[in-house]
Amino acid sequence: MKILDRLPIVEDRTTLRFGDRHVTVHRGQILVWLSVHLPEVLEPEPNTPKFPALLDTGHNYDFALQHRYLREWAGIDPRSLPPLPGIRIDGRPVDRHVVTVWVYPNVPGERKVDTTRPPHLLNMPTGIAVYPSDATNPGPRLPLLGGPTFLSNDLDWWLDPERRNITVQTKTWRRHLMRLLCRF
């Protein structure tokens, strides 16, 4: 199943509006829409707040965000989430919590969320990193969905440099074909 279908990597700096908020997305950044829930939530309600995150394959953890994004964007008080032992980011201690995360499919070839298709559950077996509110470094400017997410969720991703888009999908026969083609 395709989760992100030819999601464009936009060449220009854009301002994104969601609710009454504005965020900047710089050129070349890959934008995805997510929602975060308490771990016992089986599936998101239709009115669940969705928020933007950047797909960052250089990030060596599944998901990291600022405390205030969890509170203000996802509507969750981090204190209501089961805690896990912390992690160190850049040598500094950062909190870790158990949640469920859902990623929303895009309209094929566009950045917009496709409301006709259901979201896809992303397993976060090692939890998510939440920068404490009093941290000297408040954390990344936008939430980061790291490269390990693709590994722990067994997802394929393909970048089309010519058309400047990426496709992310669950495992299909295409994986075997790509593996074969990569050998030649």
């Binding site: 089986l42 160190r88 850049d90 950062v94 470094n137 990344p140």
Partner: protein, 155 residues
């Protein structure tokens, strides 16, 4: 030059040439102690990952995690378990379910509080790291902008 304490020398001996992590209790900053010749020989230093629980970890949660870690090899032997989630309270397994949410719901249905149990995924852990290991993550998101661009908005 700062001289090694006997405690640091013993820690280095136990590491067989690998780096020893040293923490500054005041700032919580961590440092690596490694023989100079080993450091200069390597382009990449292998960071030791502590198998010990963090000092401030809830002992009840640690007990649950240890039970999960103890049972994981056995659970993995049955292929039907792979990709499922298992809940532990104390030393005992509470249930196994298809999704994390299902397992949480089952634990709450049985009247447990969230601090009482741990839910872990049944899969081979990359790097064989126990769930209580303190993970090391690099800072990320270095953004490139043109000179003169207005500041970024962040909600």
């Amino acid at each position: 030059m700062i001289e090694l304490t006997p405690e640091q020398r013993q820690a280095l001996d136990r590491q067989n040439g690998e780096a020893v992590r040293v923490v500054d209790p005041a700032t919580k900053d961590t440092y690596l102690l490694i023989r100079e010749e080993v450091f200069s020989r390597r382009s990449e230093v292998v960071l030791p990952i502590s198998q010990e629980p963090p000092a401030d970890m809830d002992p009840q949660l640690f007990r649950c995690m240890r039970a999960y870690w103890r049972d994981l090899p056995e659970l993995l032997k049955d292929k039907r378990n792979r990709g499922k989630w298992a809940a532990y309270r104390g030393d005992e397994r509470v249930c196994v379910g298809k999704t994390q949410a299902e397992v949480y719901q089952e634990c709450y249905r049985r009247g447990m509080e969230r601090e009482e149990f741990y839910v872990g995924l049944i899969q081979e852990e990359p790097g064989d790291l126990p769930p209580w290991a303190v993970l090391e993550v690099d800072r990320s998101l270095y953004e490139f902008t043109e000179l003169g661009e207005p500041p970024s908005e962040d909600g």
